[in-house]
Amino acid sequence: MRDLFGCGRAMVMATAAVFAIGCGGGGGGEAGGGMEEEAAGEEMASPVDMATAGGINAMVMFEGMAPEMDAIDMASEPDCAARYTDTPMAEEVVVGDGGGLANVFVYVREGLDAGMSFPTPGGAVVMDQVGCRYVPRVVGVQAGQDLTFRNSDGLPHNINASPSENRGFNVSQPVNMDTNRSFPLAEVMVPVRCDVHGWMSAYVGVLDHPFHGVTDMEGGADLGMLPPGEYVVEAWHERYGTQTANVTVTTGETAMVSFSFSEAMAANAVVPMGEPIDPHGHAAHALASETH
């Protein structure tokens, strides 16, 4: 007759034991920190021999009159609007005083030795949100590298990244805060937008090597030091599409590569998004083999 009574007590005790075990599970929470340290210790050295390396500098100019950008209506976000003395303008095309085209992502598209692999940089690239705009608007990261989205506005933003090759995400930032994400696969470009503020957009170029840069107001970008060789360099702009150029890198020299964009290119531009990147030129090799 007392079976069930005894059972009830036993079950309550068993349940309590399960909860106790569950509560004790939090003890392993420091594992993440340990792994980070380990990863830092195992970081590979760059395969580029600096004694024989040469550099690439890109210069991107805008030809003709820069188009007038639309004014951004920030009436829906008075806190942001109040931060501007002049009417904020869209930043799709930003041309410096000297005619340099800013926010162009320039990178080595083909030519790297197929056997080369590059360690993931330890530091994070930061894309900030200031005055309801992304700063910078275009960034380049290496696959797997931390990308920090920062909310310096202290008002609600969301970061909606829509890659094609990588997994997308849509995270919110209601207050001043950082959110870290990374993309494991090379992809040019990953569009990012804020759904709260329809005018906010940005782009992330993801490569599996470090040879890339984003042009400044003078139109210049430093792609870093590479092994000597023949390379195909591509310049990407969100409105004017892409251009490529062949570049030869020689030891101890900095090769200059120039691009020129104009408003006429906007009409027929195909702006690639989410294209897989083949810096080692596998596709070109395969094509050449088939031809032979």
């Binding site: 079976d3 009830g8 007590r9 997308g168 209601p174």
Partner: protein, 586 residues
């Protein structure tokens, strides 16, 4: 060898963990679902914190990971994605892992064999399998909080295409675990339903005719039929949605020529019978407890049975009232409006019969009776607001507002949960051999009733004023800012309401050891479970009981006491019974 002795020979793990005894399985379901009730309540408290004090640091929030909370110098602030998960998981856990297993898993298992005079379920191993599918399904649902992207965030109704692609919510694995968990739970429910139906049809004791069955068992029988027919539809829809998520089908994705409205039709074709799965057993429990507390037969017993059957039938042709806003031929909308209003008729029959049952009764306001009366009064409020929403023009305005949140909680909390409190307290002796403490039971009831109304009644008001249902930060909308003091008031009351449940939890736990010993029939009730010891031994009945009358013969003029057990032979047969009780087959 009798069944009792046989049970003692079994190892502990077979008796109490992988048990095939329906009473043990009932206790297992009880502990599982009470745990999930606590989890669901805590999720609700977090939701209310955000609504009452949006973007302010949540107490204890620093204990949660950065994926859920944004750490700031002042403390941790809830992230919108986590809020979406909280809303989704509160609804999911409360409906599928708390209320449903409490009503069907606990009372179905505990009461059906005892009330019909059977030694166990028809398929004891299937019964065990049912629990051991439900429990891991619940754990799987909880685990989804810890995976990348967090738990599902598309709402408990999981509308497509929001739920069909992780790109919209940022939730991938969490949504898939949600789908897998509910599919497994669906199989658990089906196993239980097959068992209940088979047991009731085949294993009733001699003399236990259909219309001598207690209304709790009647309600569980009809509920099991609803489960048997409704769950496969949900399971099918869940699997289709899982395929959309994982293998690239496009049943519900417009981009793949899929049809998001198909999900709504499938979900609500299951979902509205589900509403009655969540209320019919509560109605049955209430009927049993009210008759006992009023010391009167249930008024209109046959009408009560027919009302249960009518509600079950009508529940299949009202699902469109959830979709008045979703795009529907107006003629079809009108049809659904009419069928929905028709279902109020059998519901009203039950309410009037409950009132008839207690009218001029010799009312004993014991704790289960208080909870049963609480059920009736709150169900009336919830039912009436349901009639509001049945009217298409009204629903178009109040759809997806806090009015509907108030309605569902008046039905599921004020309705089902009060009946669960009534039922657990009433049949506690049949699980643990003792009674729960009356004084603390009454204190818990009154505090819960008052606080519950303070929480949910104002939601009608803010809903009418346009307060949206699923919203992270109401203060972002200028027209909602004047309602913020009400939101804060509701939040404070929710914290008090959650805290008050500790009284019930403590009463429940302490009474297992310290409660007053119950004896066979502490409530002086009539049905067969009260003829056996508390708790009943394995096999329940030493001899197969013979049933002579219905379960509600209270205050019958033919006997001295004001109750008359179903298996007590009538005075005319005491000397020479027409049927001899037979031993239970081993």
């Amino acid at each position: 060898m009798d069944a009792h002795a046989h049970a003692h020979e079994m190892p502990w793990i077979r008796r109490y963990v992988f048990s095939t005894d329906h009473k043990i399985i009932a206790i297992q379901f009880l502990l599982m679902s009470l745990f999930f009730l606590v989890v669901g309540g805590l999720l609700a408290a977090m939701i209310r914190w955000q609504l009452g004090f949006p973007s302010e640091p949540m107490p204890g929030g620093m204990l949660l990971p950065d994926e859920m909370m944004a750490p700031t110098p002042a403390g941790a602030i809830m992230l919108p994605e986590f809020y979406n998960s909280l809303v989704t998981m509160h609804g999911t856990i409360m409906i599928f892992f708390a209320i449903m297993p409490l009503l069907v898993g606990v009372f179905g298992n505990l009461l059906i064999p005892l009330q019909i005079g059977a030694d166990d379920m028809a398929f004891p191993r299937l019964n065990m399998a049912s629990f051991w599918m439900a429990f891991p399904a619940g754990l799987l649902m909880l685990v989804s909080f810890a995976v990348e992207g967090g738990a599902a965030g598309a709402g408990w109704t999981s509308y497509a295409p929001l739920s069909a692609s992780g790109e919209y919510t940022g939730v991938y694995l969490g949504q898939q675990l949600w789908l897998i968990s509910l599919t497994i739970l669906g199989f658990a429910s089906l196993a239980g339903a097959v068992n209940y139906i088979t047991t009731i049809i085949n294993m009733r004791a001699p003399g236990m005719t259909w219309f001598r069955m207690p209304l709790a068992t009647w309600a569980l029988f009809i509920t099991a039929i609803l489960i048997l027919l409704a769950i496969p539809i949900l399971a099918g829809a869940l699997i289709m949605l899982l395929f959309d998520q994982t293998i690239g089908t496009g049943f519900f994705l417009p981009a793949s020529d899929g049809e998001p409205l198909l999900w709504q039709h499938l979900f609500w074709f299951f979902g509205h019978p589900e509403v009655y799965i969540l209320i019919l057993p509560a109605m049955g429990i209430t009927s049993d407890v009210l008759a006992n507390g009023a010391r009167k037969p249930v008024f209109g017993y046959h009408a009560m049975v027919l009302a249960i059957v009518s509600i079950a039938f009508l529940s299949w042709i009202v699902w469109g009232h959830h979709m008045f806003q979703s795009g529907m031929n107006p003629m079809l909308g009108t049809t659904f409006m009419i069928t929905t209003m028709v279902i109020a008729v059998p519901s009203a029959i039950k309410v009037f019969n409950w009132l008839g049952t207690i009218y001029k009764g010799n009312i004993h306001l014991h704790t289960p009776m208080l909870h049963a009366l609480g059920f009736v009064s709150m169900f009336i409020i919830g039912g009436l607001s349901g009639v509001f929403m049945a009217s298409t023009p009204v629903d178009v305005y109040i759809h997806d507002t806090y009015f509907i949140v108030a309605h569902i909680h008046y039905v599921l909390f004020g309705g089902s949960l009060f009946a669960i409190f009534a039922g657990v307290t009433f049949w506690y002796p049949k699980m643990f051999g003792r009674l729960m403490n009356e004084k603390w039971g009454r204190i818990h009831f009154w505090l819960t009733l008052i606080l519950y109304n303070l929480v949910f009644w104002p939601m009608h008001s803010i809903g009418i004023q346009g307060h949206m249902r699923r919203i992270y930060d109401p203060t972002q909308y200028e027209f909602l800012q004047p309602l913020q003091p009400i939101n804060q008031f509701i939040t404070v009351c929710v914290f008090a309401l959650v805290a008050v449940q500790a009284i019930y939890a403590l009463n429940f736990i302490i009474s297992i050891w310290k409660g007053k010993k119950a004896g066979n029939n502490p409530w002086h009730a009539n049905s067969l479970e009260w003829t056996v010891p508390s708790p009943p031994p394995h096999g329940n009945f030493e001899l197969v009981p013979i049933v002579y009358r219905g379960p509600y013969e209270y205050s019958a003029p033919d006997v001295e006491e004001d109750y008359w057990l179903q298996d007590t032979p009538p005075p005319s047969e005491t000397a020479a019974p027409a049927l001899e009780p037979q031993p239970v087959a081993d």
